[in-house]
Symmetry: C2
Subunit: 497 residues, 2 copies
């Protein structure tokens, strides 16, 4: 067996183990009774150790070196695969095991206590734990920086969004910051005269699920390779051949669950559309967190919140819940409801227009934190100042709804936040490019998503990780990421209509 074949075999083994982790993780969130949690945690942790051992097996370094030495004997696709294998392997092997363990312990403690501390607005005690997490994250960043030649924060960013850097982000986010606050104000003023009525429940869970599945089917979700279930925190899990998405139902409000299902359907179609010939190989995986989010936001923001699609939602919902004569179900009202813009404290509740402010704020803080420019004690003050600057809201003394609202930093996932807004911008840019060859509005009106899927499959899904993010975006749209498309999308949807 060539060393390349040995690598392929080892990654296939890893992928089989990760399959088990994905299904058991889904089960834990969607099916498992509470009493099963301790035993499950042990089994999952044993599996995590096994996955790490498989990826960092002693022979791997040698195999990679030898495969690289014989790279001329590999096909173009194999050469790309080898590059991705090496990237994944390097990321896994570079940290000394005592740092991995210290990170895991500090992260678990910080996250666990945060669940209570957040409710109690207890910044002081949270800060004690967070300082330990940040200290270890800086050690991690320093090691990753040395390995990659990137700056410390860039080395962290590279884990989630390979190829992205603060240099690029500062330009892109700087652009957003230059026009978004004013645009937001204009939209809010324009909407101030629009009356919106919330449909009155109850909306039985079964009927919401039925409507959700109907929309998933229309949007091309392959139920032969996936399912929809319920969990506390919605997610997209499973494996490409069997994608498990979840949602959460509120019997007083069907609009959130429905849009949540569509969002996860975007993630799911990306997974279902990854290239089968590369299943089980790093090159066959989703490109990055930002590209993944671009697909969920393409489905949610670009397709489903368009007036053409909202009209279908309003009609289906009327049917499903038997509200033919309910004024709250009129298209104009449902449309206004799905377009409502309002600055708020909480990122996960934010609309499409104010969301980037939440992300940019976090990006600027975590970047400076990892680079050592600011310290944990500085966070609440900067948070408050930036919230006032970007959204006109004060979080003075309100840690619960301020800098303690997210889980990401508690376990050291610094570098993740930018993916959300990168995804929104990629989605807008993909849509602009797609419109050159696909009559998107007509497709939506006719509920014919085949041409839209075909474009996404050809340009995004089938690429897996065989292109860099930049290559993928340029090949698909003709240009590198440009926030202008997102700006035009917001102006078109929220000011011109």
């Amino acid at each position: 067996m060539t060393t390349y074949k040995s690598l392929e075999k080892q990654f296939k083994k890893l992928s089989n183990y990760e399959h088990l982790a994905a299904i058991c993780g889904w089960d834990q969130a969607a099916m498992m009774p509470d009493g099963g949690n301790d035993a499950r945690a042990h089994a999952m942790s044993e599996l995590a150790v096994l996955c790490h051992e498989t990826l960092t097996a002693p022979e791997m370094g040698q195999w990679i070196t030898e495969a690289e030495a014989n790279i001329a004997s590999l096909s173009a696709e194999q050469q790309i695969s080898l590059k991705e294998m090496k990237r994944v392997w390097q990321q896994a092997t570079v940290l000394p095991s005592d740092l991995v363990e210290a990170k895991s312990i500090a992260g678990s403690k910080c996250e666990h206590e945060w669940r209570t501390q957040r409710k109690e607005n207890d910044w002081d005690n949270f800060a004690v734990n967070l300082k330990e997490v940040v200290k270890l994250a800086r050690e991690e960043a320093a090691i990753r920086a040395e390995q990659t030649g990137l700056s410390r924060y860039n080395a962290m960013l590279d884990l989630y969004e390979p190829g992205m850097t603060t240099e690029k982000l500062d330009v892109i986010f700087g652009d957003l910051k230059s026009w978004l606050p004013e645009l937001t104000q204009q939209i809010i003023e324009k909407q101030s005269t629009v009356a919106v009525e919330d449909p009155a429940g109850p909306f039985p869970t079964e009927q919401q699920a039925e409507l959700g599945k109907k929309l998933m089917g229309i949007l091309g979700f392959d139920f032969n390779h996936g399912r929809l279930d319920v969990s506390m925190h919605p997610f997209c899990g499973g494996v490409p051949q069997d994608v498990r998405i979840t949602t959460r139902y509120n019997e007083d409000d069907f609009t959130q669950a429905i849009m949540g299902v569509i969002h996860e359907t975007g993630h799911a179609r990306y997974e279902q559309g990854l290239p089968p010939s590369l299943h089980g190989s790093p090159a066959g995986e989703a490109r990055s967190m930002g590209i993944h989010e671009s697909q969920s936001l393409f489905f949610e923001m670009q397709l489903a919140r368009s007036p053409e699609f909202v009209q279908h939602i309003a009609e289906f919902a009327k049917d499903t819940f038997g509200r033919e004569s309910d004024k709250a179900f009129e298209v104009a009202n449902i449309n206004a409801l799905y377009k409502r813009v309002q600055p708020g404290y909480i990122r996960v509740d934010a609309d499409e227009v104010t969301y980037p402010a939440h992300v940019i704020l976090r990006y600027e803080i975590e970047r400076d934190l990892i680079e050592g420019v600011i310290e944990v004690d500085d966070i609440p003050g900067i948070w408050n100042q930036k919230m006032q600057e970007y959204l006109g809201i004060s979080t003075e003394g309100n840690f619960t709804d301020g800098c303690m609202q997210d889980i990401h930093w508690t376990d050291g996932s610094f570098g993740y936040f930018p993916s959300y807004t990168l995804g929104a911008m990629y989605a807008a840019q993909f849509m602009a490019a797609m419109r050159k060859t696909v009559d998107v509005d007509a497709c939506i009106q006719a509920l014919d998503f085949a041409p839209i899927s075909a474009w996404l499959e050809a340009n995004v899904w089938s690429k897996g990780s065989t292109l860099t993010t930049d290559e993928l975006v340029i090949q698909a749209t003709g240009k590198a990421l440009n926030p202008e498309y997102f700006k035009q999308h917001l102006i078109e949807r929220y000011l011109n209509n």
Copy 2:
């Protein structure tokens, strides 16, 4: 670390891997969409290899030898654990890997083609595959016999029912054969004047599930450590901390699913009641297939088909399906329905009275087949002759409903069948012993299962595999297995009432 601790750790690791296999196996049967099957099969097979490697790791033999040499330093419980560890390890290591692989290939082929061949009544082609399976099973039996000092068939029996031998079975089953055919005739004659009416459906699945869960709750199933779902072939899976049982609903007949749920609840309570201090160790597992079946049959046959319990079922069912004035729901009719005795071709459809004949017939054939007394070509003739002798039914030329009806032999699971009838006899013997200290009928009438559970927990569940089957039965009932209790149970239920 002592070598005993190393063994404990290794078995704990194995148990964690088996946890993942149990949950993913359950998912495959109860949740997975069809399109996920290929990827799942690969992942499960990778995990099976891993489990085998974990159990047969090169250090294990040395650890066991050293732990045995220092046995005086172990507690009584540890000494028992060590014995069980060794037993499990020996069974796993004794077969050469080329035989394991040949068995797996021959078994897969035979089982796969059997699914079509059975439908087509195609014995000739099935026999070709079965001969290969039997050839390999005889090789396996010979190796196991040499290792254990048992006869060939006994060595196979030992995999499912440790300690059981043909010498004991021939006595026990010989006893059954001496009175069961005549008793069956008497019962059929007695029932010939009883008119039974099948309740007329439809019985919606949701209502059947609701009734099933209600009965599970009454029978002490712990929903914090388990769930009920649907699968094509009902089973009890998962892990002791999270037991997954399944059933199958027929909207025309609620009586089967309900009794199926109660049967699996018996398996589930055994698993849920295994000793927590021994979770993850071979000594903490269920004792044998026969004892497992004794618990499902205790719940189904001893408890749930008693007239006292059937009265509750009739009343709950009336409520659930809104059939207050339906004559088919009267207690006498439901009781007659659940007591109906009728010889038939199919083992899995057989009633409590005729079931042992199906098992004894299979036992006698597989024993002689493994010992080399008969050949595959002899099976149809012997099957037909014994069916006529034991049940008065001819299977001449009917292989589909004769010797091709079961899956067990297709993959070489020779030695499994006796467990079913051993379970029925253990259950009757447990009930007779329980009645000495528990007023079982009063408990059932009052739907107070705590005293019954307490007895089973103390005498069966909490023992795990710390006793041999003989020790367990003798400690629980004062006697070794004796078919007399089963006989008395049948006479009492079917002739005296």
